[in-house]
């Protein structure tokens, strides 16, 4: 479960304050399939990063399973990101020198990859229709395929929450549809919470709950 309490994020740009998030109060239950919408600059990414522990709010608390991650030190926060959260980015952010399977396993590399984990990575890629592509580099894959590898990477640690920042932004409609379908399936089958930032009403139409942001504030839930 994710809970934000009066979360405010103010970026300082010289003398001016830019509001990234303003008094956000949110409760997201386990297993939700949720989208965040809003115009550019409304603070969607900011909110996602705050929930994911990539950035700290100026004030307020972010609780994941009842634990306040705002007070956590960097090291522990890193472990939360590794074990409980998966990230998907608009530009895929795969490591260009590593193959699909290697990219899938990247979060595990610092601790060493076991044979079981290896097996799991393979299965994930297989179930994402990438069986023939496991040894391909990102440059040899289509955008849709790359984003599917990114989802496999986000899921390799069996996280409770997957945070996706405009995952279909770089994809054509068909690949985008397939991708959302895939996420939906993982949500249904494994009960993984998905929070998807998107501009696309079609994408948000497929989620069960949509949050609208404007100027860093929730305007509709």
């Amino acid at each position: 479960m994710i809970e934000t309490r009066n979360v405010t994020k103010i970026y300082k740009l010289g003398d001016t304050d830019v509001i990234g998030a303003k008094e956000i109060n949110l409760k997201i239950e386990e297993g939700e399939f949720l989208s965040i919408m809003g115009p550019s600059g409304s603070g969607k990414s900011t909110l996602l990063y705050l929930i994911g522990g990539l950035d700290k709010p100026t004030s307020g608390d972010v609780l994941i399973d009842g634990v306040n991650i705002v007070e956590m030190e960097e090291r522990a926060l890193c472990e939360v990101r590794r074990d409980k959260i998966g990230f998907i980015f608009q530009e895929f952010n795969l490591i260009s020198t590593l193959t699909a399977i290697e990219n899938t396993l990247v979060p595990l590399i610092p601790m060493g990859v076991s044979a079981d984990e290896m097996e799991r990575g393979m299965k994930l890629l297989e179930s994402f229709d990438l069986k023939d592509r496991i040894d391909h580099l990102p440059g040899q894959l289509s955008g849709g395929q790359q984003q599917r590898v990114a989802i496999a990477r986000a899921l390799i640690n069996e996280p409770e929450i997957v945070l996706a920042d405009e995952p279909t932004g770089e994809l054509d409609t068909k690949s985008g549809d397939e991708l959302i379908q895939l996420m939906e399936e993982m949500n249904r089958r494994e009960g993984v919470t998905f929070i998807i930032v998107t501009h696309d009403p079609v994408v948000s139409g497929k989620t069960r709950r949509t949050i609208f942001l404007q100027d860093g504030m929730i305007v509709k839930d």
Binding site: C78, E79, P110, G112
Partner: protein
């Protein structure tokens, strides 16, 4: 296919290698940066070491005492001559300990093909400034006309020339010269027909103890029986042939008591300069070559050269360090997003550092080894390439002039590895300190 090792390091290393191989162009550039710096260091260091050794040998070969050479004015050591009376006069000068007569002649060996890269004179020629003074002094020693005569000679002729030195073995033994520096056989005991040759000449000619050798001077020819090989550590002398005073006079057509020079050894604590002035005052038509002063001048030149060398080395090291730093910083900037991604998906700061440390260590070590190999091969490369690029130039014996010491190798390792590793880690530290969000926005 990914390797199935299970230790954290195995995987990290694997990823590091993939990164290095996957960004081949950048990897090669960084390898070259390290290798070039190390190669220049090794090349420069071994050149100084080699020259130092050579000069050290030359100084040593002169014995523990400094000495003054007295020679006929205008003719230098090869074309001037002194009467025996001059020797007697010098011997009476207070402070003179020994007077050793020598005859020098620029001769040619007949029926022998010398395999040498260069004649002794040119060795010093390529030594830059330090060589300059040696050359100058040598031309001085040989006298103006002699210098011109040598210049007039074709290179091929010059290349086959050998310095012949006529000596009195007893006196040379006292000043610990050739007779005490035999490495094979022994000094000739008969005053007629015996010769010892320098080690370099032996190597270049293939001549050995027991061989006969025919020496030509002007129209004259004489056969000598080689009884031994000496090594004094000075290429000027080690490329020579030493015979008895009598044979040398005979070959050169000198009179009974005539010599080319008198080498004058002063009593301990007597300055060579003082002796030189005395000789000038007492004997007419004699010019002085103060060997002690010459060696001192050469030593100073070498020191000067070493200062230049250190400056060049420092610049080389700094430049390569800067280059490595800039290269890594650029590559880290390129990889900021990647590092941000790794941090976002749960990599700790030390994990990122570990990855980049492995990468730069691999580059540093491989680059250093490459650089050392290139640095050692550099003289051979020059020697092989010079005749192709400059067909008319005499190739200096680079391989003999350079000396690779273990200290050079160790320093090269330290310099190459530290600059490679530090150059890699400093920007990596910076990048891993960045928050993932900043890293994403850094594009």
């Amino acid at each position: 296919m990914i390797s199935r090792g299970r230790t954290g390091n195995m995987k990290m290393r694997h990823m590091a290698y993939r990164n290095l191989l996957g960004r081949m162009f950048r990897t090669i550039l960084m390898l070259l940066a390290v290798a070039i710096a190390v190669a220049l260091f090794v090349g420069l260091s071994s050149l100084t070491e080699g020259m130092e050794e050579m000069i050290g040998g030359a100084t040593e070969s002169m014995g523990e005492w400094g000495c003054v050479d007295a020679m006929g004015e205008g003719g230098g050591i090869f074309y001037g001559k002194l009467n025996g009376d001059v020797g007697k006069t010098i011997d009476r000068i207070p402070g003179v300990r020994y007077v050793v007569p020598r005859v020098y002649a620029m001769t040619e060996l007949k029926g022998v093909e010398l395999k040498r890269p260069v004649s002794t004179g040119q060795i010093s020629g390529m030594m830059g400034e330090a060589g300059g003074i040696v050359m100058e002094q040598m031309v001085g020693m040989m006298g103006g006309t002699a210098g011109k005569m040598l210049e007039g000679k074709g290179i091929a002729e010059l290349m086959n020339s050998v310095i012949l030195i006529g000596i009195d073995p007893t006196k040379e033994t006292i000043i610990q010269s050739y007779p005490t520096k035999m490495i094979e056989g022994s000094i000739f005991d008969s005053p007629i027909g015996g010769a010892v040759i320098g080690k370099m000449l032996a190597d270049e000619s293939g001549l050995g103890v027991g061989d006969e050798v025919r020496v030509a001077y002007g129209g004259k020819r004489r056969d000598f029986n080689i009884t031994g090989i000496y090594e004094v550590g000075n290429p000027l002398e080690d490329e020579g042939i030493v015979v008895s005073l009598r044979d040398a006079r005979d070959l050169k057509g000198l009179g009974r008591s005539e010599v080319s020079i008198f080498r004058v050894i002063p009593e301990p604590h007597v300055e060579t300069g003082t002796i030189g002035m005395w000789i000038k005052a007492k004997c007419r038509g004699v010019s002085i070559m103060d060997q002690g002063a010459l060696m001192k001048a050469i030593g100073e030149q070498i020191d000067q050269f070493k200062v230049y060398e250190y400056i060049v080395e420092a610049i080389v090291i700094l430049a390569s360090f800067g280059f490595i730093l800039v290269m890594t910083m650029r590559s880290i900037a390129e990889r900021t997003k990647e590092i941000g991604t790794l941090r976002a998906i749960g990599w700790q700061k030390p994990d990122v550092l570990r990855l980049i440390t492995i990468e730069s260590t691999a580059i540093a070590i491989i680059g250093t080894i490459l650089g050392i190999i290139i640095g050692i091969l550099l003289p051979y490369f020059f020697q092989a390439m010079m005749p192709i690029v400059f067909p008319n130039m005499i190739v200096p014996p680079m391989t003999e002039l350079t000396k690779v010491t273990s200290a050079t190798i160790i320093y090269a390792f330290i310099i190459g590895c530290t600059s490679g590793i530090v150059g890699g880690i400093v920007p990596a530290l910076q990048a891993s300190e960045m928050s993932p969000v900043d890293a994403f926005r850094a594009e």
